[in-house]
Symmetry: C2
Subunit: 124 residues, 2 copies
């Protein structure tokens, strides 16, 4: 994390923190991962992310769109088609996200061991 001089991070309403909150939540990361392989349509994303409701998908896509991470393009066919894709800004997020994701892949075993130790300790 940032060194001490970045004490701004410790303020709850720091803009960077608020931004992280909007980008790093559960569904955002999953949508991000899906769209990184290319544009997708609304129901296509919904099928890919089993478990998400259309409400949650709409809300999350709107937020990502508002923050300039994904682009929304309406195709005026009948029935209508809406295609979502990553913006250039969104694509630049790939590297930091990937680093974080790979940390979990590498360290998950150690985390799971820690959990077992903790749970056994707290059981008594």
């Amino acid at each position: 994390m940032a060194p001490l001089k970045h004490r701004v991070l410790q303020v709850a309403d720091c803009p960077s923190r608020l931004l992280l909150d909007e980008l790093a939540d559960k569904w955002s990361v999953l949508i991000f991962a899906a769209l990184n392989d290319g544009p997708m349509r609304f129901n296509e994303i919904k099928r890919t992310l089993e478990g998400i409701t259309q409400k949650a998908l709409t809300q999350t896509l709107r937020r990502l769109e508002r923050n300039g991470i994904v682009a929304r393009r309406v195709v005026e066919t009948s029935p209508i088609a809406v295609e979502y894709s990553m913006t250039t800004l969104g694509k630049s997020l790939k590297k930091p996200f990937k680093a974080l994701y790979e940390w979990t892949l590498v360290n998950l075993p150690e985390v799971e061991t820690a959990r077992q130790v903790f749970d056994i300790k707290s059981a008594r």
Copy 2:
């Protein structure tokens, strides 16, 4: 983000995703930043992170402890003292977190521009 072969990421109950949810939430990142400068006592952290309640602080510290990110050490003085510190595992999170944080520092202006554009569009 991970390439397509990491399709596991798209499953909602993927262990890596669940882990990210536990580590990347609002207060965890702030506590993480605070402890990176050295061990701290309970109320010391509380004072540093203005705005956090005891309840939230306790809950978050417990979760970080359970995941092996922070260590809890009781000093049997009177009154009691409890010191929290980063584990080796926790310290290894610094790099990926920092990368993400620096992305927000660099790209926040562009995000804010995108927000203004979006808000103006949706106003009409």
